[in-house]
């Protein structure tokens, strides 16, 4: 299955504040506020402003979280990356 690469918003473009179960993310570029739940904040943090695909993300997140088997994790993370892209917090990497 294709595993597209996404480029995260530069770290300095976002202000991320945890508010209990919700996380509020202020995007300084669009001036929009996004309210998200886990694992979107964790995914963004693991990308740390860089380009990532689901496989690379899975490897990074596995260091901190107990994740299901590799194929399932990649599929789930691919879905979350598409959601983050729909919010404008990551973008498909054109390079």
């Amino acid at each position: 299955m294709a595993d597209p690469v996404y480029r995260a918003a530069p770290v300095e473009a976002l202000r991320v504040e945890r508010l209990g179960e919700l996380t509020a993310i202020f995007d300084r570029r669009s001036m929009q506020t996004h309210l998200v739940v886990s694992p979107l904040p964790e995914v963004l943090e693991a990308m740390s402003g860089e380009a990532c695909n689901a496989a690379l993300l899975a490897a990074r997140l596995a260091a901190s979280f107990d994740l299901p088997d590799a194929a399932e994790t990649r599929a789930i993370l691919g879905e979350r990356l598409r959601e983050l892209a729909s919010l404008g917090l990551v973008a498909p990497d054109e390079a």
Binding site: R15, E17, L19, G20, E21, L22, T23, A24, F26, R28, M31, T33, L35
Partner: protein, 288 residues
């Protein structure tokens, strides 16, 4: 404008102009006890003008204008000029104010700390604040509360309280008639009568109060208290703010700080007495 006046409510200096004397005279009576600062430039301008020039004499009706206008706002009959002035003042602040985060919330304070009550029209936030303001609380405002992005403090906006329908009789039974404005019967919002806040609340209107309790009241139904998480309080307050988006990151910071620092509750109550008891109960808990 033929007639005009200036009114200071909290941090906002209004200039109100009118084609007629009556609305300005009514405002001057309601705001007679408020501090004056005529040398200061107006922050917001409200204009009450005749919908058509000839209408000034023949069936007069008031159109609301100012720095910001709502094109489809209905003209009101001149007898409701005071309501038009109130709506104009609300509109100019709601759309134009940038110095503070503006919340659709009433507020009362005690010992320099405040209770913010946010809700839609009919939630009872205004009546609760007015009733608390007749007890040992300082009324900070019945409609808007301003949050200072720098300090996180709540600033008062103690305009004349807009009592509606049942709340009119409830308050009229408790206060000196001299503190009530004329009855405006059958307005688009029902019956309205303005209540002049107590002199001590007006005198203290420039004193900020640190938010200590955040309530989302709902009038009607059995007495209930629901603790709200920081995220839910944040969502509700973004919806209750008229200028959150316009403030950008300063608004985001002010609101995240507020919901982290201040416990939030949804409260339901069947009548004013139960509502007042809930406020006192929750206040006693946060005081501990």
């Amino acid at each position: 404008m033929k007639h005009s006046t200036r009114i200071v409510v909290g941090p906002v200096q209004f200039r109100i102009g009118s084609d007629w004397r009556a609305p300005v005279a009514a405002l001057e009576r309601l705001y007679a006890g408020y501090p004056q600062d005529p040398a200061r430039a107006a922050d917001a301008t409200v204009r009450l003008f005749a919908a058509r020039p000839w209408r000034r004499w023949l069936r007069p009706s008031v159109q609301i204008g100012g720095d910001f206008v709502v094109p489809d706002a209905l003209p009101l009959p001149l007898s409701m000029g005071l309501l038009a002035a109130e709506m104009g003042m609300n509109l100019q602040v709601a759309l134009g104010w940038r110095r503070h985060l503006l919340l659709h919330a009433s507020a009362v304070a005690r010992d320099g700390r405040s209770v913010l009550m946010s809700g839609v029209s009919g939630s009872g936030k205004s009546t609760l604040a007015a009733l608390l303001g007749e007890g040992d609380w300082r009324l900070m405002g019945d409609e808007f509360t301003l949050i200072d992005p720098a300090s996180g403090d709540a600033l008062a906006f103690p305009r004349a309280v807009s009592l509606k329908n049942e709340a009119i009789a409830e308050m009229a039974a408790r206060v000196d008639a001299a503190r009530l404005g004329p009855l405006l019967a059958g307005t688009p919002k029902g019956d309205i009568r303005h209540l002049i806040p107590r002199a001590d609340a007006v005198a203290a209107m420039h004193e900020p109060a640190r938010p200590a309790l955040l309530l989302f009241p709902r009038f009607g139904g059995a007495t209930a208290i629901e603790r709200l998480g920081e995220g839910e309080a944040f969502v509700r307050l973004t919806e209750a703010s008229t200028n959150y988006t316009a403030l950008g990151e300063a608004g985001f910071e002010a609101l995240t700080r507020l919901v982290r620092a201040v416990p939030a509750f949804g409260i339901s109550y069947p009548d004013s007495a139960a509502g007042l008891a809930l406020v006192e109960q929750l206040w006693a808990e946060v005081e501990r």
